[in-house]
Each structure stands twice: as structure tokens, then as C-alpha cells.
């Protein structure tokens, strides 16, 4: 799906911020992902038009960055850090637990990520880029369930405020 009218206007504003349109690829991809829940091929084609490059270049750029999901993912993206500080404080156990718990749940995508810069509160994870720290597998599961049940309001898939 291409940009909605509102987002197309925003997209053009974003392009105008930069001395060169190509610089807008990352922010436009975030915008598209927020709109669609993932980064679709149609969005990349439209970004190519807006930034004056080829779709292959847009894909080349976007596929470099881990935040862009190029296939559909759950509406809740749970990013669990297992880098060294979280490794020695229990991150892998949280990852394993959540992966098993939500393995069959299409709404929840659990991913392993690199250091989230929250080591002071390790182990840490993000739900749609909202930080949660000092967790155990049980607390983490309760947290995700809170989001699922609507007791917490998640950010968008790219982390913008809804």
C-alpha cells in the first residue's frame, strides 16, 4: 500500500527538509512502516519516486537497517537484548521464554536484538521501541500480555507515538 494522502503530504515535507531528496529514505521508510505495519514493496517504490532513486537503491538502503521489516510482522514487536550485559543478567532466558510463549501468536513477533543502550537496567527489552528494564521471564510475559490486552498502549511498529 502506498502512502495515504496525509502521509504523502508528510512525506513531501520530510523530503523538503534535506538538501538532497535521497537523505529522506530512512525517515520515509519509518513513515511507511508506521502506516502499514511493515515495509512493503509498494512503499519502497513510492519512496524511490519521492527521492529520485531506483527501487533497488531504496531496498539496498533499507535492507541494511534492522528496524525495517520487509515481511509482515506482529503488531507487537518484542525486541529482547542478549548482548553481554543482558547475557550475564538473564536476557537469553527472557528471549527463550517469550519465543516459546508467543511462537504461535501472529500478533507478537519476538526478536533477538543487539545492545539497546539500557544496560543500567539489564536485562532489557523493547515493545515497539518502548523500553522495559530489570525483567524476569515472568515479568516480561506479563508485560507483553498487558499490551495484548490493551492495558498498555503500544507505540507504532516503528516506535512513533500513536
Amino acid at each position: 500500500m502506498a502512502f495515504s494522502d496525509v502521509n504523502l503530504t508528510r512525506a513531501r515535507d520530510i523530503v523538503a527538509r534535506y538538501p538532497r531528496p535521497k537523505s529522506a529514505i530512512l525517515p520515509l521508510a519509518h513513515l511507511a512502516q508506521d502506516q502499514d505495519g511493515w515495509l512493503t514493496a509498494e512503499a519502497m517504490e513510492e519512496i524511490a519516486v519521492l527521492t529520485g532513486v531506483t527501487p533497488a537503491e531504496v531496498q539496498g538502503t533499507c535492507s541494511f537497517y534492522t528496524m525495517f521489516k520487509r515481511r509482515p510482522c506482529g503488531s507487537l514487536l518484542v525486541s529482547v537484548c542478549t548482548n553481554v550485559t543482558c547475557l550475564v543478567t538473564g536476557g537469553p532466558a527472557i528471549l527463550r521464554h517469550l519465543t516459546e510463549r508467543y511462537g504461535d501468536d501472529d500478533d507478537v513477533t519476538v526478536e533477538e536484538v543487539e545492545c539497546l543502550a539500557a544496560c543500567g537496567g539489564a536485562p532489557a527489552l523493547q515493545v515497539n521501541y518502548e523500553y522495559h528494564e530489570q525483567l524476569t521471564p515472568e515479568i516480561a510475559e506479563a508485560l507483553v500480555d498487558d499490551y495484548k490486552a490493551g492495558r498498555r498502549t503500544p507505540r507504532t511498529i516503528s516506535g512513533a507515538q500513536r
Binding site: R17, Y18, P19, R20, P21, K22, S23, A24, I25, L26, P27, A29, H30, T51, V53, G60, T61, C62, F64, Y65, T66, M67, F68, S79, T82, N83, V84, T85, L87, V88, T89, P92, A93, L95, R96, T99, E112, V113, E114, C115, L116, A117, A118, C119, G120, G121, A122, Q126, N128, Y129, E130, Y131, R155, S158, G159, A160, Q161
Partner: protein, 440 residues
């Protein structure tokens, strides 16, 4: 006498935890006063008499003199750009995260002053994409600063114009490299570029560009407030001022501590961060982020002095992240996890880093999971010499950016401090990770 923090950059966010990021709080605590003052000065005055005189060195990791970096801008070539590096991704570093979330105006004030000093009219603040709340607050702060006339056309009637663009990253450690960041800002894959040309000469859009870290920018208003020479009195030797150290791992009180440079690792780790938790002994610590070669308990009395740590301890203070590991830690497992990180984050441009990090990761996985072979450690050191010729500190490199040599820090450290343990592990073929691991 117990050491305490010296809170300069972190003072506001520690004092006013409820609203330190708002413009009201910022203005109520003297915010933007230094900007007013700066705009009455000559740019060259700020450069020389303040920033250069302060001895400020970049807080991103490389520790290059900020004033010196500014002075490399070629005369008479415009436009110039200021790019601010808030793509904090070095494992166990979380100071910029805090500064962006909790004191964004301080960054902006530093940015406007610096842009004025280097005669740039567009500044880009590149923020790590995962910092959702930080970006939200920084964007709000930029909007508020525009509204108050601290950014925009004719700032505070000075005739100086500056646009500030918050640019959101999207998940790539290497975008935190100086030229990787510029590639990313240009909408490219965040691949570092060959140097020369250096960014100061041909940076963003091939125009003269200064790339400075968020903490560096946050320090600039304080240098003006204190005076460059006064600021330089803090610290030790060429490591002037304060730095924020992120202490994490097996310590009782992990967190960010802003201290005057020159105190010892022991003071920072034991007195401020509460020492190793659970009454255990320290096995080793990493002094400057994942890229830094490791240190042992016998090094704890060394000062936090960039030059000393480099020349005497053959490692670096890097991004100011100190990771502490207790006696039960399997060093091979830590090394493997760091290499897993580097293999994941290698941009793929230079062969030694792209292939080398992948190979190191595979071998370290085997070793740390009980499948090591006796020759593995020496083999890693051997092919690792392609990444770091000679393996001697300071590391030389065969790659464009410093990520190449970073991949060898852990391996060299294993060899330096844990050779017997690793060989035993490999020989026994029965090593077991002391911490459960799920991923490979």
C-alpha cells in the same frame, strides 16, 4: 575520602528527574543563556578561546580534540554541515541515550553554539532509531526551540540562521562511525568511506562537515559557562573535564556516573557502582565498550585517563562503557557474544571485517559451547592478523573504519589473560557455558 560524581552535564537531569527535558525546566535553570552569550562572540573566539582551550576531546569514542577537529574545516568553502552523532550502539554504552531522553535542550544549545562557531547553517542530529522516547523528546525540544527563536532564522536577533533536523536511524551500529553516519544521512547504506578525504574537508554531500557526539555537544554550553581554561582545570593531563561512564554487568549499582577524569577504575567501580554484586570477586572488566581490549582486577588502580589507558594498558576508554564480570563468568562466552555482535553489525564493505568477524564468531561459538579444538585460539590469532597486522597495541588496521580491529579485541584479550583457561577448555572438549545460552 570517598569519591563523588562531578555533575556538570548530568546535573539538571539528576536534579529534576520529573521534567528535566522540558523547555520550561531548561529555561528555569539557565538554559540558552550561553547561546545568548555565544552569539555576541566571534566564531573564531568560541573555537579557540573556549572549545580549544577547554581541551575537550570527543566523547564518542575516538577522543579526538573537538576544537582541533573544527579547525580542519577548509577556509572559505560553504555550505558547511554539522552532524551530531547520537547513534549510540556500542554495547553497554547508555549515556547518550540518557542525555537525549532527559536533557535534549542541552544538546540543542550545544549544537546551535557549535554551528555558530563553525559557520554551519544546517545541523543534523542523528539519533539511534530505537530511541523512540528520546526522539520524541528531542523533536519536541527542537520544535520548542524553534518556537522560542533559539533555532531558525535570525536567532535571537543575531542574524545567524540555523536549521536543525532530527534524523532517525534505523538499526545499524556502523552508522555510529563518523563516515558511516554521513553515508546513512545521505540515504545510503551506512558504509564508512575511505579517508582521506576526511569529513572536515569533504563530508556530508561532499561538503565540509563536522561530526560530533551528543555528549560532546552537551558539554559545549558548560565550557562557555565555566570558560574554556577553567574547564581544562578539571581532569587529568590531556583528558580534561568530566565524562559520563556507563557501568554495567555484575556490579551492585549499575548506571551512568559523571566523574572528573583522573579518578581510578576502582573508585568508579567499587565506590560509585557498588563493586561486584553478590560478594563475588571480579574476574575481568572491559574498560571502553565492546571494542576495547579487556583489563584485569590488577589494573583497577589505573586512572581514567585516555592517554594512560592507551599507552600503558594497551586498551582504551572508548565510549566510556565499563563492563564488569564476576568470577563465574566464562570469558569465551563473552568473547563469542561480542563477536556475534560484530558479525551482525559489520557493514560488509571490507573483506577482513566482513569475513573475519563471521569466522571469529563461528570459532568462538564452538569454543564457548564445548566444541573447541586445541589449535583454534592460535588459528584465530593467525587469521586475525589479517585484520590487525601484528596484533600489537595500538591496533593498526586493514579496514576502512575501526570496527575491523575492534573485532580482534576480545580474541587478543582471551590470549593475553585467559590463554590457559581457553586451551584447557578446548583440550577438554567438555567446556560448558556457565550461563545458559539460547541463541546461536
Amino acid at each position: 575520602m570517598a569519591v563523588t560524581e562531578t555533575r556538570i552535564v548530568t546535573n539538571r537531569l539528576r536534579e529534576f528527574t520529573e521534567d528535566s527535558w522540558t523547555i520550561d525546566r531548561y529555561l528555569a535553570t539557565g538554559g540558552y543563556d550561553m547561546l545568548r552569550q555565544a552569539l555576541t562572540m566571534q566564531p573564531v573566539q568560541i573555537q579557540d578561546e573556549q572549545v580549544k582551550a577547554s581541551g575537550l576531546r570527543g566523547r564518542g569514542g575516538a577522543g579526538f580534540g573537538t576544537g582541533q577537529k573544527w579547525s580542519f574545516l577548509p577556509k572559505g568553502i560553504y555550505p558547511r554541515y554539522l552532524a551530531v552523532n547520537g547513534d549510540e550502539g556500542e554495547p553497554s554504552t547508555f549515556k547518550d541515550h540518557m542525555l537525549i531522553e532527559r536533557d535534549p535542550h542541552q544538546i540543542i544549545e550545544g549544537v546551535v553554539i557549535s554551528a555558530f562557531a563553525i559557520e554551519a547553517h544546517i545541523a543534523f542530529i542523528y539519533v539511534r532509531g530505537e530511541f523512540a522516547l528520546g526522539i520524541e523528546r528531542l523533536e519536541q525540544a527542537v520544535a520548542d526551540a524553534y518556537a522560542k527563536g533559539f533555532i531558525g532564522k535570525n536567532i535571537l536577533g543575531s542574524g545567524f540562521d540555523l536549521e536543525v533536523v532530527v534524523h532517525r536511524g534505523a538499526g545499524a551500529y556502523i552508522a555510529g562511525d563518523e563516515t558511516g553516519l554521513l553515508s546513512s544521512l545521505e540515504g545510503e547504506r551506512a558504509m564508512p568511506r575511505i579517508k582521506p578525504p576526511f569529513p572536515a574537508v569533504q563530508g556530508l554531500y561532499a561538503k565540509p562537515t563536522v561530526v560530533n557526539n551528543v555528549e560532546t555537544m552537551s558539554t559545549v554550553p558548560h565550557i562557555l559557562r565555566m570558560g574554556g581554561e577553567e574547564y581544562a582545570k578539571l581532569g587529568v593531563g590531556r583528558s580534561t573535564g568530566t565524562r559520563i561512564f556507563s557501568v554495567s554487568g555484575h556490579v551492585a549499582r549499575p548506571g551512568n556516573y559523571e566523574v572528573e577524569l583522573g579518578i581510578t577504575f576502582r573508585q568508579l567501580i567499587d565506590e560509585l557502582a557498588g563493586g561486584v554484586r553478590g560478594g563475588k570477586q571480579m574476574k575481568f572488566f572491559i574498560p571502553g565498550g565492546a571494542s576495547a581490549p579487556w583489563l584485569m582486577p590488577e589494573h583497577l588502580d589505573a586512572p581514567l585517563d585516555m592517554d594512560y589507558v592507551g599507552s600503558e594498558l594497551k586498551t582504551m576508554l572508548g565510549s566510556g562503557a565499563i563492563m564488569v564480570f564476576d568470577e563465574d563468568t566464562n570469558p569465551a562466552l563473552i568473547a563469542w557474544r561480542l563477536l556475534k555482535f560484530f558479525a551482525h553489525e559489520s557493514c560488509g564493505k571490507c573483506t577482513p571485517c566482513r569475513e573475519g568477524s563471521m569466522w571469529l564468531e563461528k570459532v568462538l561459538f564452538r569454543i564457548s559451547h564445548g566444541l573447541g579444538r586445541p589449535q583454534d585460539l592460535d588459528m584465530m590469532l593467525s587469521f586475525g592478523s589479517t585484520i590487525v597486522p601484528g596484533l600489537n597495541a595500538p591496533f593498526s588496521q586493514t579496514t576502512i573504519c575501526a570496527m575491523g580491529p575492534s573485532t580482534m579485541s576480545a580474541v587478543v584479550s582471551l590470549d593475553r589473560f585467559f590463554r590457559e583457561e581457553i586451551l584447557e577448555m578446548c583440550n577438554a572438549g567438555a567446556a560448558r557455558p556457565t550461563i545458559p545460552v539460547t541463541s546461536a
